[in-house]
């Protein structure tokens, strides 16, 4: 079965997947995670992707972020055809265009919040002062209190750690944020704050956001909600 979502109204979509298939080998069995999957996200959109476990939502984010390669089909992100990029070019492209946010934050525990946020900037030809300025701006934007900028992750709450992870994702100013269960490890209050922050990033900084979530409450904030089941788009509805 093939499902195609309505095309975006904007001329250059932020994400454009065309007939993408992806399967994995699990022992002797081949698991088809995505099967001729087509999907378009307009620039500046905020999409919640809801799906049960194992239905391919994380795979979808990995494919869009260039961390994995499709078996078939075409993926174009911000006008760039990913299949045409070599490993090194793909790595450089990713650093400029994609910000990843994960459920488990993946911060380096022995580095301060500011140092964690600085990591993507180390790849850019910026002076130390310029890097510090951008780190400060990103952390302030995410609402992490100033006095906590030099705390190490284990000294921060879950919500604060996720703010640091978001600051790290936006510090290079990528147009697209890929969020994999960003509130999955947080309590309701902290989760709501993170969702508000994502909404702000979308509305004020015009970040395109593709957010995988199990939480219908989280999905309510998105412009659109996409349901994915067994590798296929089963339903699309406006939030």
């Amino acid at each position: 079965m093939t499902a195609i979502l309505p095309e975006s109204t904007t001329p250059t979509p932020a994400v454009d997947l065309e007939a993408v298939s992806k399967s994995y080998r699990r022992g002797d069995e081949i698991v088809h995670v995505l099967d001729h999957f087509s999907f378009t996200v307009a620039s500046g959109d905020f999409i919640a992707l809801m799906a049960p476990s194992g239905s391919g939502k994380s795979t979808l984010l990995n494919l869009i972020g260039g961390l994995d390669h499709p078996d078939q089909g075409r993926i174009r992100v911000a006008g760039t055809e990913l299949a045409g990029l070599r490993e090194s070019a793909l790595t450089r492209w990713r650093s400029r265009n994609i910000g990843f946010i994960f459920q488990l934050y993946y911060l380096i525990p022995v580095l301060s919040a500011a140092r964690n946020v600085e990591l993507p900037l180390l790849l850019q030809p910026l002076s130390r002062a310029e890097r510090a300025k951008r780190v400060e701006a990103a952390l302030t934007l995410t609402g992490l209190p100033n006095e906590r900028h030099h705390f190490r992750p284990p000294e921060l709450s879950g919500g604060q750690q996720q703010r640091v992870a978001i600051a790290r994702a936006i510090v290079t100013d990528p147009p697209l944020l890929l969020c994999d269960e960003p509130t999955g490890d947080l309590d309701r209050a902290a989760g709501n704050e993170i969702l508000e922050l994502l909404k702000t990033l979308n509305e004020r900084l015009h970040k395109t956001i593709l957010m995988v979530t199990h939480d219908p409450h989280a999905a309510e904030l998105a412009h659109r909600v996409v349901h994915l089941e067994k590798g296929l788009v089963g339903e699309l509805r406006a939030a």
Binding site: E87, Y106, I108, V110, L122
Partner: protein, 388 residues
């Protein structure tokens, strides 16, 4: 690519994660290089003289054994052999100072010839040189020996011999200290030099010598001259064996113990074990951080850059441990030298050994990083993130 130096927080973060483990690994590497330093110093103590021996010098001795004597007249005969430039002879005194444990490296020599062969190696005031040449009972000593026993110029030193009896019926050969010389050669710094005439006038079997030091005109003639000397005495009652000074010293040492082989075997065993320990520690550390490495990949860190960071980690660990171990070895060797100078005068950690150590550290770090680099090469970013 930006300079690697700006990534130092990442390198040190990885090392700070398990401080005890990092410190233990550094300590292990330190021990390996401490051992390396000590063994290299020991090797130099035995073979150092071999490398610094004059390349144009031949040593002639009895073909029977090291302790057999040769007639002094052989010196004049050897001097007439084509290719020979200078001939000097010496006798091993087998001396000590006040106690048997205070061994003196004492030789009775032909004074002018001995000095002539060492003009570049010694620093001796002219007045002391003249005084010694004119004093049959005089002695010259290296400054290290003089300092050790607090000897002063003009002092009478009662040198005792385990081999030769003095005409007074005792084993004490009193000498007057006429000169104290300085030398860059630690071996020379340890010697006590007597006049051959003084010794020869006292022994009951005079006009014999222990060995001859022969300088040839041209290095290319070394083997030919050695052959001519041994041929000349082949059918005499005192056949000779002649070899280059370097070969003589090396054979002499190897007859006792093959230090080179022992040093090599120990070092191979130690470094192989240390390589396994360090590589395993690094590999474990990388395995524990696979999700963080995956996160760096999502931020645009190339595999090559991550390899460089892992190599930098290995270099920090190995260089820290290695440099500490080498410094400790240098200190220990200096300390040991003050006690063992009379037995192992050339015991020291040379710059060459330190540079060899540095090269080994870099090689060691690169080899340790191979396994982790292989792990990263196989690491699939998406899988590592899924694993959490």
């Amino acid at each position: 690519m930006p300079t690697l130096f700006r990534f130092y927080p990442l390198v040190f973060a990885a090392l700070r994660r398990h401080r005890v483990r990092t410190l233990l690994t550094i300590a292990s590497v330190m021990m390996a290089f401490l051992l390396f330093g000590l063994l290299m110093a020991l090797s130099h103590a035995f073979y150092g003289g071999v490398k610094t021996a004059n390349r144009r010098t031949l040593i002639t001795m009895s073909s029977m054994s090291f302790i057999e004597s040769l007639p002094r007249a052989d010196a004049a005969e050897i001097a007439s052999i084509p290719g020979v430039a200078k001939v000097a002879y010496e006798v091993w005194i087998g001396a000590y100072y006040q106690h048997q444990s205070q061994i003196l490296f004492a030789l009775a020599v032909s004074p002018k010839r001995w000095l002539a062969q060492r003009t570049r190696q010694l620093s001796l005031p002219t007045t002391e040189r003249t005084a010694w040449l004119g004093d049959r009972r005089g002695a010259l000593v290296g400054s290290s020996v003089a300092r050790r026993y607090h000897w002063k110029i003009g002092e009478i030193i009662p040198i005792r011999s385990n081999i030769w009896v003095h005409p007074n019926g005792t084993n004490t050969w009193p000498v007057k200290l006429d000169g104290i010389f300085h030398s860059k050669s630690r071996t020379l710094e340890q010697v006590v030099i007597l006049h051959y005439r003084y010794w020869n006038g006292g022994v009951n079997k005079p006009n014999v010598i222990g060995m001859l030091r022969i300088e040839v005109h041209h290095l290319s003639e070394l083997t030919a001259v050695a052959h001519r000397i041994d041929t000349r005495f082949a059918n005499s009652p005192y056949p000779t064996r002649t070899s280059s000074a370097r070969t003589f010293m090396k054979n002499f040492i190897d007859q006792t113990v093959d230090i080179g082989l022992i040093v090599q075997d120990i070092l191979i065993a130690v470094f192989f074990t240390m390589l396994l320990v360090t590589a395993n520690t690094l590999a474990r550390s990388v395995r524990e951080r696979s999700s963080e490495i995956a996160i760096l990949r999502t931020q645009g860190y190339s595999r090559r850059l991550i390899f460089a960071l892992i190599l930098a980690e290995a270099l920090v660990v190995v260089l820290t441990g290695g440099i500490l171990g080498t410094l400790l070895a240098a200190l220990l060797v200096e300390g040991l030298h003050t006690f063992l100078a009379e037995f192992l005068p050339t015991l020291r950690l040379t710059t060459g050994a330190e540079l060899k150590g540095l090269g080994l550290m870099i090689l060691f770090a690169c080899a340790s990083a191979l396994l982790p680099v292989y792990q990263i090469q196989r690491l699939k970013t998406a899988d590592a993130l899924r694993g959490g």
